[in-house]
């Protein structure tokens, strides 16, 4: 049976997932700064002024009202903590932490409350909440609005971490995240919002913990996260001219991480490059390389390579920021270093 698909942007796909989940389950509520915008302003009683700072949640307040699409004060500890309390008592809140860099003002509520309640209470609590948050460089947004930082959250027991790279993945993984009974941090790369791709019209749920092979190949495996998947695919196009066939593995969720798919690809290609836009130390790049080295060392024909941002904050000026973000050229060089 043919599945009806059409082209949507990454941002539209996220909006559609939120709408479908809110239609399906009245306990799903959204909260965050300007998720509707214009609260209490005459004329905006059932309209949004913004619909999110980049318009990703636009139109939802019109359909679901201001009791379920809650504008918050600029008060991340307050409303993310409220999402934890609401999740522990019967709602499925989706809270928006506008930029991941803002985790510094609310980490206690994420880390000591949301992530730990289920465990500390002996499994007698569940915290089915999602924190949607924007990541990544490329907007010239400088040091406090451009980081990735998903490795910080992946390190924390009790949290699940999702980093979609395509519109369809964003839709299916967000639905799964909302239905999950554990707290999920859902990382949206701001440079992907306008990316278009085919997305099924109907409900789509992609289980957490399943990597996706975005391109099959047999010369080397490139494990790439989020926006870096697209760099890896460009590198694969360039290298194919030289007869080099890259397999591009997109983990899609960092916690849980689909070790099996990564390992089986690497065991076949015998070469691995990990591309990660986060800072390098204690990163997903080093974590995945360590996992491969400890479990498939004898299958490797070359030392694993990593391509990451440098260990600096994200700079502002265009040449500086462009230098910060991993490039297709660096991915190509890293692959060649394994050959």
């Amino acid at each position: 049976m043919a599945v009806a698909v059409r082209s949507l942007t990454f941002g539209q796909a996220i909006n559609e997932a939120l709408r479908l989940e809110m239609e399906r389950d009245p306990s799903v509520v959204l909260m965050g700064e300007d998720v509707a915008g214009g609260a209490t302003v005459p004329g905006f009683e059932q309209e949004d002024a913004w619909g999110g700072v980049l318009g990703v949640t636009k139109g939802l307040v019109q359909q679901f009202g201001r009791q379920r699409v809650l504008d918050t004060p600029i008060s991340e500890s307050g409303f993310i903590g409220a999402a934890v309390g609401a999740a522990a008592t019967g709602l499925r809140p989706v809270a928006e932490l506008m930029f991941v860099d803002f985790f510094g003002v609310c980490m206690d509520q994420i880390f000591n409350q949301g992530a730990k309640l289920r465990y500390m209470f002996g499994g007698k609590a569940r915290v089915p909440m999602v924190i949607r948050t924007m990541i990544g460089a490329g907007f010239r947004a400088a040091g406090q609005h451009s980081g990735c930082h998903y490795s910080v959250f992946t390190h924390m027991p009790g949290l699940k971490c999702v980093v979609p790279s395509t519109p369809a993945d964003a839709k299916g993984l967000l639905a799964a995240s909302i239905r999950d009974d554990d707290p999920v941090i859902f990382f949206e790369h701001k440079m992907l919002y306008d990316l278009t791709g085919e997305v099924p019209e109907d409900e789509l749920v992609i289980p957490l913990g399943q990597a996706d092979i975005k391109r099959s190949g047999d010369t080397a495996t490139v494990v790439a996260i989020g926006r870096m998947v697209h760099l890896a695919l460009e590198a694969a196009d360039l290298l194919s001219a030289d007869g080099i066939s890259l397999e591009v593995v997109d983990p899609r969720t960092l916690s849980p991480l689909d070790d099996d798919t990564i390992l089986s690809s690497v065991r076949r290609t015998r070469r691995v490059v990990v591309v990660d836009e986060d800072n390098p130390r204690c990163s997903m790049a080093t974590d995945i390389v360590a996992m491969v080295a400890s479990q498939a060392f004898d299958d490797l024909d070359a030392p694993p390579q990593i391509v990451t941002a440098p260990h600096t904050p994200v700079p502002f000026s265009p040449p500086l920021e462009d230098f910060y973000v991993p490039s297709v050229e660096r991915v190509v060089q890293a692959v060649r270093a394994t050959l």
């Binding site: 409303f79 309390g85 465990y119 209470f121 070790d259």
Partner: protein, 322 residues
């Protein structure tokens, strides 16, 4: 607010059970039978009991590191509580939380909290659930004078006020944040006065007087249930023990502590209730003995309960790593 005999019995039973439990825990801790940290609630009983007297099954509370009294007032069984303090598999949290994270969500107790100021946002969230799902429930939020200086407490009060959420914020001002007096750490003369900045009612109360607590909490809970939003109660109180067990309490004088013990909240209520003809001396004695018996049983239950298996540490969390 006139009390019935039944209400008076419940209040005295709960206050006495908290006192008996905490005094026993102090002895057990001193004997080395309870691992970790414990923070005792004795002296503050009138606050938890006066508030929880108005709460039922659909209502939630958030608590503090000093949470045993809140648990007992909200109806968490003392057998499971003592077993949790002993680190046993039969404990409220199967031995994974201990005193500082003791919880029973099935009874609306959202956990003691090891983070000062960790609870207020959670209470706002529980109240958001009540409002969104139309349960008619209210969230009681206990926090100390120390937590009054945390940003989370301010954020949660502001959020509850702008969203008109059914929360009763209850500041247990025992006058010390660990060893630091409230007169030093708090710029306000009264924490209750801060309610004005959220446009919510704020009431300063004698936290030793359970009747005063009961009456003020009754009004605040009723207001929340009517959909009129949050309130802030500040209960001035005193903890009989140190900040934690083992604290030598060098920052308070023996005279101060003796004066507060003289004015004891249980003795005060016993006097009030007998003068009003609600309770007899025989009632009080029976309740005192019954509380001791319940605590005896709780210790026996904890003692004969199994320890958790080491590998149980790997359950109740999402674990994916080999």
């Amino acid at each position: 607010m006139e009390l019935t005999r039944e209400q008076a019995v419940w209040i005295y039973e709960r206050m006495r059970l908290i006192r008996s439990f905490e005094e026993r825990v102090a002895r057990l801790f001193a004997d080395g039978r309870i691992p970790g940290f414990v923070h005792l609630y004795a002296g503050e009983e009138a606050v938890a009991v006066g508030v929880c007297a108005h709460l039922g099954d659909r209502d939630y509370i958030t608590s503090t590191h000093r949470g045993h009294g809140h648990c007992i007032a909200k109806g968490v069984p003392v057998n499971e509580m003592m077993a949790e303090l002993f680190g046993r598999a039969t404990g409220s949290c199967k031995g994974k939380g201990g005193s500082m994270h003791i919880a029973d969500v099935s009874r609306g107790m959202l956990g003691a909290n090891g983070i000062v100021g960790g609870g207020p946002p959670l209470a706002a969230g529980a109240a958001l659930t009540a409002r969104t799902l139309g349960t008619g429930g209210v969230a009681g939020c206990f926090f100390g004078d120390g937590a009054a200086e945390q940003g989370t407490t301010h954020e949660a009060m502001n959020l509850a006020a702008i969203w008109n959420l059914p929360v009763v914020f209850v500041c247990e001002n025992n006058q010390f944040a660990e060893s630091t007096p409230v007169t030093y750490h708090c710029a306000a003369t009264s924490i209750a006065d801060r309610a004005a900045s959220y446009n919510i009612p704020g009431v300063l109360l004698d936290g030793y007087d359970v009747l005063a607590m009961y009456e003020a909490a009754g009004e605040a809970v009723a207001r929340a249930r009517r959909g009129e939003g949050p309130s802030l109660l500040e209960a001035k109180t005193w903890r009989y023990f140190g900040h934690f067990e083992g604290d030598q309490v060098t920052y308070r004088t023996a005279e101060q502590s003796a004066a507060y013990r003289e004015h004891d909240p249980l003795a005060l209520f016993a006097k009030q209730a007998t003068e009003r003809g609600l309770l007899s001396r025989a009632d009080l004695d029976r309740i005192d003995q019954d509380a001791e018996r319940q605590v005896d049983e709780a210790v026996e239950f904890a003692d004969r309960s199994p320890l958790p298996a080491p590998e149980d540490s790997l359950s109740d969390v999402y674990v994916a790593y080999r």
